[in-house]
């Protein structure tokens, strides 16, 4: 059972309490954007075999969206962080062994 700590309410939540929201930190595009930009935003995904920054929602808890950094090949969770973040925090990336530039 995957367990994530909600950065808002502080609870350790089992995955039955959570809902996955897919890849995090996508650049949103609005009206007047090109087809390529919309395609990239709506559909194209990194889908990495390894460290993945992703969105989660604490649906059966506080209801907030948050982010998690997790390895898709080992299921190791490096940590969670608030949704109001454009890139994963440097300390989590370091824990995951990823260069912050990536």
């Amino acid at each position: 059972m995957l367990t994530l700590t909600c950065p808002y309410c502080g609870l350790q939540a089992d995955e039955t309490e959570l809902h996955g929201g897919g890849e995090a930190h996508l650049t949103r595009f609005g009206p007047d954007s090109s087809d390529d930009e919309f395609e990239a935003y709506l559909f194209l995904r990194q889908n990495p075999r390894g460290v993945h920054a992703e969105r989660w929602r604490h649906v059966y808890g506080c209801g907030k969206w948050f982010h998690a950094l997790r390895d898709t090949t080992t299921l190791q969770v490096f940590g969670t962080y608030p949704a109001q973040t454009l890139t994963p925090p440097a300390d989590l990336l370091k824990a995951a062994g990823v260069e912050p530039a990536a």
Binding site: M1, E39, A40, R45, R49, T72
Partner: protein, 418 residues
Amino acid sequence: MPPKRRYSAFAIARETLRQHAGWDRAWADRPMKPRYDVIIVGAGGHGLATAYYLGKNFGITNVAILEKGWLGGGNTGRNTTIIRSNYLQDPSAAIYEKARGLYETLSQELNYNIMFSPRGVMMLAQTEHEKRGYLRTAHANALQGVETEFVGPDRVKELCPIISIDGPRYPVLGALWQARGGTARHDAVAWGYARACSDMGMDIIQKCEVTGVRSAGGKVTGLETSRGPVDCDKLGLVVAGHSGHLAQMAGFRLPIESVALQALVSEPIKPCMDVVVMANTVHGYMSQSDKGEMVIGGGADGYNNYTQRGSFHHIEETVRALVETFPMISRLKMLRQWGGIVDMTGDRSPILSTTPLGNCFVNCGWGTGGFKAIPGSGWAMAELMAKGTPGSLAADFGLDRFREGRFIDESVAAGVAH
């Protein structure tokens, strides 16, 4: 290379008399050549079928099929072997019906018993919405030339007496019944295609992981592998859950996320159901194998995963749903459980397409329902790779549909069990 000895009743009789000493290996284990006309990455059902139809329909036999693990050891060996073609959208119905039709005679064609069993597939309607949806699908299938019918609860009970029609939560209101659907032996499909490919002179290279894609001038020129470099004119990526990983090596992204889907089988019991039943509202599906095991599948996990392990609570949900539908299985012990990595696209329909890299083609995105499509997928992919442009079966499944908004929206049409 001598052609393979045919399998037949006479061959079995002959070998019985000499302690089975005369059987050949089903496929050859040859070293990798430095160059091939076509390389297919992935020796699962789809990859092997692609290679087979390249040889059979287009005479292209200088082909290698590379496999990271062992032949048929990915999703081909991990599914619940259901074959059906009762899809709503025309492009899906066309390719799945092509596959179902090819399955009917595949044993004879390959001279390899794939144990195709057209026992019938029943998709239960357990809400008014689902009933209306399946009535619509039945009408669409009639127009597409796919033989299905919507049957009432009495007929459901007649076809599968162990179903609880009055169900505690969701009474059965009817079902979409495809009498020509069924199951086949999944490993045998891979083995039969592999034997036929090897017989045509193609090389199946197992335990050979692709580590890089080489290109020049916007076109693919070869691969780096764990067994050294190899050149090719055309490259086909047919690797299901790992498509995104290979696309990254080839320099493009795919509209795909990889998640785990689990299945399980029970201890073997005496014959109790001779159809496949899918209960999509409560979310589980079940059939009985020839060995007597109940073969069970359910929902996919909700997050990116490459581990071929799933979450326990999905098994619990699936089993709960099936105990509700088939009360008599409540005391069955489960024998084995496993997971496969499925490649989910944005519209839950597959991708058979050219790619931004020249002469590199991709066949992926079959998600949770690839096994049933294997022959049709291989047929269409072979045409795409041989001609460089898709034929009628693959035309609607191009990557450009995500850019242009031409979705083949089976995520709504097929409900959950796809």
